[in-house]
Amino acid sequence: MNIEIPNLTAFDEAALDSAFVQLERQARAAAAALDNEAAVDGFKLQWLGRKQGLLNEISGRWLKAAPGEAKKLLGVRFNALKAVVETLLDEALGAGPTDAALAREAIDITLPGTRRLMGAEHPITRTLNEIVSVFAALGYSVGVGPEVETDYYNFESMNFPPGHPARDTQDTLVVAGQERRPQRDRLLMRTHTSPVQMRTMESQPPPVRIVIPGKVHRNDAADATHSPIFHQVEGLCVDTNITFSDLKGTLDHAMKVLFGSAVKTRFFPSFFPFTEPSADVQISCIFCGGKGCRKCKNSGWIELLGCGMVDPAVFAFAAEKQPAYDPKKISGFAFGMGVERIAMMKYGISEIGSLFAGDMRFLGQFA
């Protein structure tokens, strides 16, 4: 912008006023037009430049010409103008580019964001971890055991004697070539996580509080709700004075943490060879709140886990290696739940097979 330096003929106050007001007006107009960084640089150079800057020129021109008595007033006015220019410059620098300049940089913000793909934890892992953490908060440690077990740990020590019909309820996948071996040493795919109860008790005297997450296998035909591969979480609590009401309270608490505090539990007599008394546990339907719906077959209840007081026969097996498991002195409870069933319920999964197919479209939903 072209700046005109007024021609100063007199150095009285009115003449100085007029000249400086004119200069200040021009400075303000120039500053207002600054719309980019280059222009701001130009403004700075034009007004404050050391050699060719306007202020330099003004001071050179006028101060030389001014009579001695006017020099002081001129100096004051000059410094005021310099301050105004510096302020304008500061403002221009602080304000950054103008709206017009910014408008030229517009983009289409409605285009979808470029997403970094996040991997999804498997719904079974997620459910297992949730269950385990509920019991960890109740003082349970985590234990694991082998997926290939001996007949002794999977059946015999869990009080399924050889030839007992209860073995038929758990169709077993067996390792080849076991026929000639003693029954107790025969290798099989564990049909439940319960053998880890015995392995844990053999390795430590009471008290025991342990949860056991794990993969198990059965020789079952696959359908919408059955898979030959599935997961369980087993729990075991052994101490002096552990009662059936402790079992009830523990599972009631755990179900409330997992499914919401409004959930109710209901215990039914059941049968498992390794617990007595044994119970099946139902929770009030999490879909209808107990009023009855398709998911709960209109009963208002959903069966979720099996449990019971550890059978004295199981303690007797443990006592072979750890005599402290004397069923007259200690007692305990055990429980087990199917993880797939809980995950399917929580996440609305209708086909159990989809959990093991590795389909990206299915798994991606859990990211």
Partner: protein, 710 residues
């Protein structure tokens, strides 16, 4: 199993609840009613309801009408009438029918009743109420003939298997014995069977008649010609029946009951019931009931030693009830007596010292010990009447030793955009041979789900490959998966289990969109993930190497020139790379598949890396790029080692910034832009220093064959 409430109410006319409530009360006491079907005429009158039952296998005694009625009587405190069927006087006989139990280990009791002059035909009205026709009608049980209906009726009423023989086909008398080698019998299903010397059979003096407790024989069955019959009601040992049934692949109502324990004392009652139905069509009884018993087996069933039960033990196991009074001596006595136990007090006078000697009912072979009685008390009292209490805390909580490591591996792969999958534990023998880290250690199953699942997976790669192929065949072209699972190796005598990681990727990188072109995922993308996973662990040295094709050390499933071994502190920690094109072609996979396995048992031996912060220099870093030309035989590793070998402390970082081929270069050459950053912790670097560093870098890479591009 189906139960008619009309029938239950015939035993318990005083049942105080409607059918729906009865179903719920039974269910809450372990006699589960799964379905209720109204048979018309409203509740409590007329036809009542049909209950579809689901009763656990330990409670065979309750899988019949009388057994369920007993449970209901215990719940509501009703008296259950004793089953008794009056028969006409028998006509005396000079020669009682001969029954001999030879297999005294397996047959505890055998009752036989001879009926003569009977007429085989449709069942006649029996008693005033014509129960057979009514109940069978409601149960939709077909009426066949009075002989068949009679045994069916006894079965449905009281769960006692019985059998009716054509008496005239029996030669001599009955012998309960083991079969002899080579003996044959044709069973009621028309199958001619060769018997095993272990089979428990019913025979006459000359030949086998049937499989004891499993199925009767064809030749001695009742026909319309039959005039004289023998009614059998017996008690057989569970194991003997189970073995016989299994050997012949038979599962019948009778074998089901005997395998789980029948009532030693029910035989003569059932025999009377069957006889009375048959005699309704005419005929008479010849001689008194023949009742052969084996005292040793009677002592194990009907005459068991009483069990001691203490109230204090009941309370120790069961704990607190909602009702402040808790379980009392009266509760215990009420429940057990209603279930058919005999109670003799043996404890002290104080209520809390109450104790009993409990005589066990012959039909409850599942009751043997004090704990079994405690369970009965809890069951009938009602599980939901117990309080919800929490045990006191025990010792400290221990996590799995490798829980933190596994969780870090998972976290790293999730952050790299891989979805977690769970694959099959099994694979085919061919897949095992292809993917096993060591040959010959795959463990076969004895009864696999299918041939494709014939062995325990020695590597998770087979499953990963199957899941990748599954996606591609479903037209899902971008795949990134990993699995954390167990792998198996060893022999059929001893199986080792190890944790393993598999991962696989196909297609394009996810960071694409309208503004960025898609880029195919390639080897180095996967290598980066492996580096990050391994980088979670505190290792002294991590390197990647490969072997010449002829060494035969690269896994067969990998492309021999696009595969790397992961070496951590000198241990092989895994392999990864591009799927071998031959394997890909066999599976009809067109896009290059990148996949690998890490041996987590080896990585888990290392602690997780503990981050340690370093002082960040205040002084200006200086970047210098070197444009190099190299022969294709010179790998990055050589340049990297040459630069590292300089050990210039101020050379804080260097990397390959760009690798490219250029028409202006000679054949067999490529260009590499090496970027280096110099920085001192204590000063600003001077130009002369930088000049010196640069010439040392140029000299070092020159020694391994790189020249500066002019």
């Amino acid at each position: 199993m189906k139960i008619l409430t009309k029938w239950l109410r015939a035993y318990l006319p005083g049942l105080p609840v409607d059918d729906a409530r009865l179903a719920e009360d039974l269910t809450l006491r372990g006699i589960a009613v799964e379905g209720i079907y109204d048979l018309g005429s409203g509740n409590g009158s007329g036809n009542g309801s049909l209950f579809e039952m689901d009763i656990t296998t330990n409670r065979v005694d309750a899988m019949n009408h009388y057994g369920v009625a007993r449970e209901a009587a215990a719940i509501y405190g009703l008296a259950l009438p004793v089953l008794d069927f009056a028969l006409p006087e028998f006509r005396p006989t000079a020669k009682p029918f001969s029954v001999r139990i030879e297999a005294e280990d397996a047959c505890g009791r055998f009752t036989a009743r001879v009926l003569r002059g009977v007429t085989i035909g449709p069942s006649r009205d029996w008693f005033a109420g014509a129960e057979v026709a009514t109940y069978f009608g409601l149960l939709e049980q077909k009426q066949i003939s009075n002989a068949v209906d009679a045994t069916n009726f006894a079965w449905i009423a009281m769960g006692q298997p019985t059998h009716v023989f054509d008496l005239d086909k029996i030669e001599g008398g009955i012998v309960v014995r083991r079969a002899r080698k080579g003996e044959r019998v044709k069973t009621l299903d028309g199958v001619e069977r060769t018997l095993d010397p272990e089979d428990l059979i019913i025979a006459d003096h000359l030949k086998p008649l049937g499989l004891a407790g499993v199925m009767g024989g064809w030749d001695s069955m009742i026909t319309t010609e039959t005039k004289n019959v023998l009614v059998e009601a017996a008690w057989f040992d569970p194991v003997a029946v189970r073995r016989t049934a299994r050997r012949h692949g038979l599962h019948t109502d009778a074998s089901h009951r005997f395998e789980r324990g029948a009532d030693f004392n029910a035989g003569h009652v059932a025999s009377a019931l069957v006889s009375s139905i048959l005699l309704a069509n005419g005929g008479w009884i010849e001689g008194d009931l023949v009742d052969a018993r084996v005292p040793a087996l009677e002592a194990r069933t009907a005459n068991r030693k009483p069990v001691e039960l203490k109230l204090s033990e009941v309370r120790r196991i069961l704990g607190a009830t909602v009702d402040a009074e808790g379980i009392t001596a009266a509760t215990v006595e009420g429940v057990l007596i209603a279930l058919g136990c005999g109670l003799a007090t043996c404890g002290g006078a104080a209520l809390d010292n109450a104790a009993w000697l409990v005589t066990l009912p012959s039909w409850r072979l599942d009751l043997e010990r004090e704990i079994d009685l405690i369970e009965e008390v809890a069951r009938v009292y009602g599980y939901n009447r117990f309080a919800n209490t929490l045990p006191a805390f025990g010792e400290g909580v221990r996590a799995l030793p490798w829980a933190a490591q596994e969780s870090e591996v998972r976290r790293t792969l999730l952050a790299a955009g891989f979805h977690e999958a769970i694959g099959s534990t099994f694979c085919s023998a061919a897949e095992a041979a292809l993917t096993a880290p060591q040959p010959g250690l795959a463990v076969p199953l004895g009864n696999p789900l299918s041939e494709e699942a014939g062995v325990l997976r020695p590597s998770p790669v087979a499953g990963m490959l199957a899941m990748i192929a599954g996606n591609l065949h479903r037209d899902v072209s971008d795949v990134r998966l990993f699995e954390l699972g167990t792998v198996f190796s060893g022999t059929t005598e001893k199986v080792d289990e190890r944790p393993a990681l598999s991962f696989g990727a196909v297609g394009t990188l996810p960071e694409q969109g309208a503004l960025h072109a898609a880029r195919a995922i390639e080897f180095h993308d996967v290598k980066g993930v492996v580096e990050q996973v391994v980088g979670r662990f505190h290792a002294r040295a991590v390197l990647f190497d490969h072997f010449p094709a002829e060494a035969g050390l690269t896994p067969e499933w990998l492309h021999p020139y696009r595969a790397a071994r992961v070496v951590v502190d000198g241990m092989t920690a895994g392999w990864f790379g591009q799927l071998h094109p031959r394997v890909a072609a066999e599976r009809k996979l067109k896009d290059p598949v990148l996949l690998g396995e890490l041996y987590l048992d080896r990585l888990y031996k290392l602690p997780l890396r503990q981050p340690i912060a370093r002082e960040i220099s205040r002084f200006q870093p200086v970047r210098r790029d070197f444009s190099l030309v190299l022969d294709v035989s010179i790998t990055w590793e050589k340049i990297d080692q040459a630069v590292a070998g300089l050990r210039i402390p101020e050379l804080v970082e260097w990397r390959a910034r760009e690798v490219f081929r250029d028409a202006k270069l000679g054949a067999g050459e490529y260009a590499l832009l090496l970027g280096a950053t110099f920085q001192a912790a204590d000063r600003t670097l001077r130009e002369e220093e930088l000049q010196e560093f640069q010439s040392r870098v140029v000299e070092a890479v020159g020694k391994v064959g790189a020249r500066l591009r002019s």
